[in-house]
């Protein structure tokens, strides 16, 4: 039996390749994700441990504000000069180090050098310790001298002796570049990180706004562990004392959490691809079983048992799954290595060697084989039900009624809908995802029922020509097959449509709010700049006020705080009542007056009552109590804690990050804007925007996010296309005689190809329509569920939906190419000659 199975498998190479390809692509995605994150993770391990290789013990303060990993970076605690002296009493060689994200060098082209994410550290030059090596020039001695790492110097196009502008928490200052440094091992950078190093005092003033250090490096001839224990005992529990190795591991770990999230996202998309692949495999095996009815019946007639029949199909599945897993794993390692190399190149990270983590191997084989076998299970059972007598009859598999299938579909869809609703109400991602999955399966089960009328309607479009009509009839011929092929395409399109619907609705709701309530004519805000809030010099404020046409300018200062121990954002408006007017804030309790010292105004979503006292810990670590004097209604535009000027001193930097500009009715906006832009010449990251630009900018990320989702779901689409190719190829094979006959009675080659193409397009457009419908359903369910979160109106992304429908049609045409050529090449004689 096994031998017969393997032989029949080999005899059908095309189907082996096509259904294997779907599994292969999914497995490739899964194992590629693991290989990629593993390689990057180990590269960062290496980077951190080399950075701390020359450090015996590292002393840091506990974070000023603890923030969970998903919410961003914790605010590091500061070590004072007194702290350094205490450490030096125990270990005289201790060095106080300053290293803080946010030192932006202005390159020789006048533009701020950016890293697209990784930090741009500003710190003090502590000599050639901790792996630092001066490549040229000298160490910074005076307040206006800096050194930068070699990679940064190259990127910025600056050389020793140049005057270099640097933005920090303070506005732009100009320094003389006196030296360029690198790292142990001849490296020009540590991964993607840029570094600027000042003298101690300048680093403290510009990066910390306080006299202190971010860490203390200790080296001695004692063993690191002994030194650590000694320091721990001597310093007390306000400090974190770690050996260099421990600190490197801790840094790498916090970074791994980010990688882990990335891996999960990639695996999520791989999951979608595999889910779609399941449809393809299920369909392929169903067709194969249908085509082999005679063969299977013969085996039954010759005495094969039901178990053997199931076994025969499943063995075929295992073989396909195994081969696809092996190839998919190999391809995944290749793709993972390629992406890791690309990533390393992009971020100048020293890439650790590519390895194949056990997780990649295990998941590749589990996923590949299990999915193939599960998908083949149903067709296998069907194969076992072929009666022996079928061997003797002309093939006439009666159309089984769709009642049961449709009922099951309705139940599963309803269950999925219920789970989605519950998930939205309980904010449970698992229920939501499970619901979406169930909804997909449910709709897939329902789709054969819909297929016949839908395909008949769609086909009308093509019925003007004979090949078109024949194609339409062919696609309506086997509603199950058409439906499942279309369902594979549905999944991808439904997901992008759903996400798009949510995003579009959110954007529209936001725009609606803004249009109705935002009254500032211009805003001054910082460009997206990772890790850093761009700022401008507050001395500019009076001069901005004097610009012709400007009615009022209100600057905003912002930084992280902890309120009663919970992380939050503090804002200080130079004129809160004016801002409240510009954003149409409504008073809920008390007054929205400019808060005096020890007073705070807060939105109504924070759980505070008028007169409450809250304890606020600033980013610099100081604690102070404030009394709530006013409460206003939270909106998309305006919310959070609004303090008075006394809170600015607790903020790192203490510079405004944003400003509202209100123009007089008679003002010339363009002139006012140019004047303001002129004033901001020394803050190249700040820009002046009108309302529309500001909102476009705020919603710009949505478009990028959507693009990424579309690209990643492209793989699912690709697998769906394979499914269409497969279905068509097998249908063409199945209908060889028929096509031969059509050719014999005068159907030309082009017409034959047109017939197959119409069949494909009808299937894919049906899938696309199904996907659009399901996507809109899912999207509106989520929008409905998030109505309380500010999603006020449901907006359908018609333009995008039209695009997806177009993609569906194009996909159909592409998928038809090979099967159509094959059909056109049908040897007329071979097809119709009997025996």
């Amino acid at each position: 039996m096994l031998r017969a199975t393997l032989k029949s498998l080999l005899a059908r190479k095309v189907r082996l390749v096509l259904s294997g390809l779907a599994v292969l692509l999914g497995v490739m995605f899964v194992s590629g994700s693991f290989v990629l994150t593993d390689a990057i993770g180990r590269s960062f391990d290496n980077m951190f441990s080399s950075a701390l290789a020359e450090t015996d013990v590292l002393v840091t303060a506990k974070p000023a504000i603890e923030v969970s990993e998903m919410e961003g970076e914790p605010v590091p605690g500061l070590l004072t000069a007194a702290d350094l002296r205490r450490v030096q009493e125990i270990a005289p060689s201790a060095i106080g180090e300053i290293s803080v994200d946010g030192a932006r060098v202005i390159g020789s082209d006048g533009k701020v050098v950016t890293t697209y994410g990784p930090p741009r550290m500003g710190g003090n030059w502590t000599g050639e310790v901790g792996g630092l090596r001066l490549h040229e020039g000298v160490a910074p001695q005076k307040a206006d001298e800096i050194v930068v790492n070699a990679a940064l110097a190259k990127k910025a196009g600056i050389k020793v002796g140049d005057q270099v502008g640097v933005l920090t928490t303070k506005p732009k200052q100009t320094f003389k570049l006196v030296g360029i440094f690198g790292y142990e091992g001849g490296l020009d950078s540590r991964g993607p990180v840029d570094e600027v190093r000042f003298t101690d005092a300048v680093a403290q003033e510009l990066m910390l706004g306080a006299e202190g250090y971010t860490s203390i490096t200790v080296n001695s001839d004692k063993s690191p562990a002994a030194l650590r224990d000694e320091l721990k005992a001597g310093l007390g529990d306000r400090y974190v004392v770690q050996t260099g190795e421990e600190a490197a591991a801790a840094m790498a770990n916090s970074f791994k959490a980010v990688l882990d999230v990335m891996n999960k996202i990639l695996l999520g998309f791989a999951g979608v691809a595999l889910f779609v692949g399941t449809f393809l495999i299920l369909n392929t095996f169903s067709i194969i079983v249908a085509q082999r009815t005679k063969e299977l019946a013969l085996a039954r007639a010759l005495g094969a048992g039901r178990g053997q029949m199931i076994g025969s199909v499943l063995v075929e599945a295992v073989v396909i799954g195994l081969v696809a897993s092996v190839l998919g794993l190999a391809a995944g390692v290749g793709v993972g290595a390629l992406l890791a190399a690309y990533f390393a190149n992009f971020t100048s990270l020293q890439l650790a060697g590519i390895a194949v983590p056990a997780a990649a191997v295990i998941s590749a084989f589990t996923v590949g084989i299990v999915i193939t076998v599960i998908a083949a299970l149903l067709p296998a059972v069907r194969a076992s039900r072929v009666p022996p007598v079928a061997a003797l009859q002309e093939v006439a598999t009666p159309d089984r009624p769709l009642t049961k299938l449709t009922a099951a579909g309705a139940i599963v869809t309803a269950a999925g809908g219920g789970a989605i609703a519950y998930g939205l109400r309980q904010q449970s991602l698992w229920f939501l995802m499970g619901g979406v999955l169930a909804a997909f399966v449910g709709v897939a089960l329902l789709s054969p029922f819909v297929a016949r009328p839908a395909v008949a309607m769609l086909g009308r479009l093509f019925s003007w020509s004979v090949p078109g009509k024949l194609g339409r009839l062919n696609s309506g011929r086997n509603p199950r097959r058409t439906a499942i092929t279309a369902a594979a395409l549905m999944v991808g399109i439904a997901l992008v449509t759903g996400v798009n619907t949510i995003m579009t609705s959110a954007e529209r709701s936001m725009r609606g709010d803004v249009a109705a309530t935002f009254k500032a004519d211009l805003v001054i805000s910082g460009q997206e700049s990772p890790g850093v809030q761009p700022t401008f010099d507050p001395v500019l404020l009076p001069r901005m006020q004097q610009v012709s046409g400007v009615d009022s300018v209100v600057a905003t200062y912002a930084d992280q705080i902890a309120v009663n121990g919970k992380p939050a954002y503090a804002q200080v408006q130079t004129d809160l009542p004016t801002v409240a007017r510009l954003v149409s804030a409504t008073t809920v309790a008390g007054t929205i007056a400019q808060p005096g010292p020890g007073e705070v105004v807060v939105d109504d979503n924070r759980g505070h009552a008028l007169g409450d006292t809250v304890t606020v810990r600033s980013a610099k670590g100081t604690e102070k109590t404030y009394r709530v004097i006013g409460i206003f209604a939270d909106t998309n535009l305006f919310g959070g804690y609004q303090f008075g000027a006394d809170a600015i001193e607790g903020m790192r930097g203490g510079q405004p990050t944003f400003a509202y500009v209100d123009l007089a009715d008679s003002a010339d906006p363009a002139a006012a804007r140019t004047a303001l832009e002129g004033l901001l010449a020394d803050s190249p990251e700040m820009r002046v925007q009108n309302q529309k630009e500001y909102i476009d900018n705020q919603t710009g990320e949505v478009a990028q996010f959507l693009l990424m989702v579309q690209v990643l779901l492209g793989l699912a689409m690709l697998i769906a296309v394979l499914g269409v190719v497969n279905t068509l190829a097998l249908s063409v094979l199945e209908r060889t005689r028929e096509i031969g006959l059509l050719r014999a009675i005068g159907l030309g080659r082009m017409a034959t190809m047109r017939m197959i193409t119409v069949e494909a397009v009808v299937i894919t457009v049906f899938g696309a329509l199904l996907g659009l419908a399901v996507g809109v359903g899912l999207g509106s369910a989520v929008v409905e569920g998030l109505a309380d979160e500010g999603l006020k109106e449901l907006v359908l992304p018609w333009q995008q939906m039209g695009l997806y429908l177009g993609v569906g049609a194009v996909v159909g045409v592409l998928a038809a190419i090979l099967p159509a050529i094959r059909a056109a090449r049908t040897n007329v004689l071979g097809a119709i000659a009997y025996e």
């Binding site: 009675i745 080659r749 000659a833």
Partner: protein, 251 residues
């Protein structure tokens, strides 16, 4: 036993083969299916091609119909030289000059009987001649079955649809490949009667391959093949004379 040399009368031929060779494979595996066959199929006549299995009778028909390419020699359908035609030329030939009836009926399961019958015209983009269509379906007796799909028809009815499909475009020649092979004798006789009638009443040229002496007896002329050669022919055959001839050929 009358051995008649093929007489070439150009204008009267609906299809003809001139010095046709058909060789499959090469070297040791070489099989010669047709050896220097020349045959002329007169217009308005019903010709049967007979012969034992492997005699080349199906190959001859396939070559005459342009379904298979000849190795050497020429094939004509009407005035058209089939040998060397491109695919487009062959397609045109099939649309305009040739009709087929198969042993396996070969109807499209998705189309109704009427749609199947009209399919060749639809493919060619020609308007059906309603009067002729009516005549054809009256001849094959399908009036009340036109809306049915093939799966709702008996074998005999399906083959009648196939006959109508071949007749409706009034081709130069209809090639019928064992048209009664899959039918019981009653249905088979019905089909043969239609074919006969369409020859007599409408002047349709029909070439039929068969191994059934009874079927051959409906033809005007029977051509016998053996080992890839035409060995004899018989005019106005009856089942008995055909059987005698077969015996003689075998002996």
């Amino acid at each position: 036993m009358t051995l008649t040399a093929p007489v070439i009368t150009r204008t009267a031929a609906a299809a003809r083969a001139a010095d046709v060779w058909k060789v499959y494979g090469s070297g040791e595996a070489q099989v010669v299916a047709l050896r220097d066959v020349s045959v002329e199929l007169e217009r308005g006549r019903f010709t049967a091609i007979m012969g034992p299995s492997g005699s080349g009778k199906s190959t001859l028909m396939h070559c005459l119909a342009g379904l298979d390419a000849v190795t050497r020699g020429d094939v004509f359908v009407g005035d058209t030289k089939v040998t060397g035609l491109s695919d487009a030329g062959l397609t045109k030939l099939r649309r305009e000059k040739v009709g087929f009836i198969f042993q396996q009926f070969n109807l499209l399961p998705t189309l109704t009987a009427e749609e199947n019958i009209l399919l060749p015209l639809a493919i060619a983009g020609r308007k059906p001649d309603r009067a002729w269509f009516q005549t054809v379906i009256d001849t094959v007796g399908l009036g009340d079955r036109l809306g049915h799909r093939p799966s709702q028809l008996s074998g005999g009815q399906q083959q009648r649809v196939a006959c109508a499909r071949a007749l409706v475009s009034r081709p130069e020649v209809i090639f019928a490949d064992e048209p009664t092979g899959n039918l019981d004798s009653r249905a088979g006789n019905e089909i043969l009667t239609f074919l006969r009638r369409s020859v007599i009443e409408y002047g349709q040229t029909i070439v039929m391959v068969t191994h059934d002496a009874n079927a051959a007896s409906y033809a005007d002329r029977v051509v016998f093949l053996a080992d890839g050669r035409i060995v004899s022919s018989l005019d106005d055959p009856t089942a008995d004379t055909v059987l005698d001839m077969l015996k003689a050929a075998a002996g």
